[in-house]
């Protein structure tokens, strides 16, 4: 019995001494952390996507507090709401740029691109990119193995099973750019979200000469320059047989979309146009 009593005394005594010591030490060596860091962190998405350039959300919060202003700091994941919230906490103004969203610059669906082979190796674009031109002869287009899908922590990307091309979900994409960094063919670009999400872009990355590009893919930009001639805002440049639309200069008039002979220029989120037909519609009336 005395053995049990002795053991309780020793263990309990050690516990009490350790507790006292720990509480003294925790008071003595207390590190005062900026209370704003926790506040800011609560506004951030907490996905640690790295889109801000910091190692994670906590590091970004620390960086915001240390800098004192928000110049050059942006959380693409949290977007405008988060940045405005942070600005309010810090008592500074938020001069953040427009929200950005990832766009895939390839429209070479399975039936548009000539298939050269079937790949059944490890499902990774990075590996397929080292095996030559991939499953088609286009060495610029989407490989469709989904490295970008794996890289996206916001679940905003998927590979469309019919087209075999990566598709971005606007509502989920935060513009963190993780997909852009991982794409071995560099076909993902961050473009301004645009008013009500309206955007116009060249959905092709093919730099081959027109005739060659045509053979590789029916939807390829052939660098004909029609779009740049029709554009009244000087927003379109053609270099290396590939057109590029400057999103800042673009006024979303969509003339280029209609004029492109290969439908390589895409538009999105525009309200549906009303269709006025000049053709006599009335086969019924003719019969009657």
């Amino acid at each position: 019995m005395s053995g049990v009593f002795f053991a309780i005394m020793v263990l309990g005594g050690t516990g009490i001494v350790a507790a006292v010591l720990l509480s003294i030490i925790s008071k003595k060596f207390y590190v005062k952390e900026d209370s704003r860091i926790a506040e800011i962190e609560s506004l951030l998405p907490g996905a640690n996507c790295g889109g801000c350039g910091q190692s994670g959300c906590h590091a970004f919060a620390v960086a915001c507090c240390e800098a004192g202003n928000l110049d050059g700091l942006d959380c693409p994941g949290g977007g405008k709401d988060a940045m405005n919230g942070i600005a309010a906490i810090l008592g500074v103004e938020n001069h953040g740029g427009p929200a950005k969203v990832a766009v895939v610059k390839c429209a070479g669906e399975c039936n548009e691109r000539v298939r050269s082979s079937y790949y059944d190796g490890a499902k990774s674009c990075a590996i397929l990119a080292t095996c030559g031109s991939g499953e088609s002869y286009c060495v610029y287009g989407c490989l469709g193995c989904g490295d970008c899908v794996d890289a996206c922590v916001f679940d905003a990307l998927r590979i469309d099973p019919y087209s075999g091309i990566a598709v971005v979900d606007d509502s989920k994409c935060t513009g963190c750019g993780a997909c852009m960094k991982v794409c071995p063919r560099n076909i993902i670009e961050l473009r301004p979200y645009g008013p009500r999400g309206m955007r116009v872009w060249v959905a092709c990355s093919n730099k081959d000469k027109g005739a060659v590009a045509m053979k590789e893919c029916k939807r390829a930009c052939i660098g004909c320059g029609k779009c740049s001639r029709v554009c009244s805002h000087e927003a379109i440049t053609v270099a290396n047989n590939l057109a590029y639309i400057d999103a800042v200069k673009c006024k979303l008039c969509r003339k280029c979309v209609d004029t492109c002979p290969t439908d390589a220029i895409h538009k999105t989120n525009f309200p549906e146009e009303k269709v006025y037909s000049n053709q006599p519609t009335g086969s019924d009336s003719a019969v009657n």
């Binding site: 990075a126 095996c131 031109s133």
Partner: protein, 450 residues
Amino acid sequence: MGTFKKGGIHPPQNKLTAGSPIVTLALPRRVELLLSQHIGAPATPIVGKGDIVVRGQEVAKSSGFVSASVHTPISGIVKKIDTVRNVAGQPVTAIIIEADEENHLADEERRTNKTRVRSDEELERLTVEEIRAIARSSGLVGLGGATFPASVKLAPPKESKIDFLIVNGAECEPYLTCDHALMRESGDEIVKGVELMRRACDAPEAIIGIEENKPDAIEILAKASEPYAAIRIEPLKAKYPQGGEKQLVKAITGREIKSGCLPASAGTVVHNVATAYALYNAAAYGVPVIERVVTVTGKDLSRPGNFLAPIGMRLGALIDYAGGLREDSGKVILGGPMMGRAAINLDAPMVKGISGVLVMAEDDSHRRKEEPCIRCAKCVDVCPMGLEPYLISTYGRLRLVDEAQQNGARDCIECGCCSYICPASRPLLDYIRLGKKLIADKIQREKINK
């Protein structure tokens, strides 16, 4: 009989063409000569559109220390210098030459009646510098498949003393028999080529390593090398990947090449028997590398065989000589089944590095379904470099570059033993290659940042 100690596998040999003689193919009327058929800087064209060229003429010269020149196998007119697609479907620059009937007949005549430019006595008097110059001017590259410019390897760094010239006649890849056929038919020429190489590297001894499954080649080369005291034949136990540089050096000399080092660091230089033959051809007959022996094989082909094929001919035509592709053929692999790469474009031209064209039947050409790793460590057992493939491949998949590097990803020789043996059919080598590529990218980035 020796072999390397660590790892290795015994895949089914499938040497369908082991007894086939080398068939000389008719010269094509049109060739596409790629400027980059070797490791290193692409060659620079020295002919232009409309130029008349003669068989064996240099059409593109080497553009650096690690580079090799390109010669034309047919006489004719340079049609254009244009972008064509290589076997992997990538656009590359090529010189396109076409021959007419007159050129064609003259070329066939030149080909059958080769004239000596140097007698055997003159060959013996060649200086080291002259031998290296011949290798350089004839566009000689490692014909085992690596296509590293041979003139660089024939001039080992001065600070490393070369004790052995190792000549690779192992041909450990299943299906391939091109080196075997060459050793059987041209033993004397190979040995004379080896002697030239030995003198160029200043090695006191040259050893030709041949696997025991080629007894006729061992016998023929042993006989041919009798007059040369410095050359001997070393029969080796058959095991894949015996033809790997580091494995071959270990098997023959017992020496270990340290991680990241060249064979010269262990006092050795390794060349292929086909390279030795090509060097002799260049020195004795003045014929540069414009043709090579290729094994065209596969269970799907009606006439598989070993062919002497001109560089620049269409690969599809080469397969047609062996019976042609069947409607239901699964895939075409360039090189052997273990290390070769699947071809995307069969209209692509033949290049110096292609030692075999393997046509796989539909049933054999699909990968098995990938299953989870069961931690059996078979990949560790068979890795000839003593690495842990399951671990490096996981790091590659997760893009953990530093971890992959620390675990020796760069020592991987990409022999494919791990993927072959894996009972869960995991694509181990694919991800290890990815890891190696990411490491190379990282090193490149660091170099630029400096």
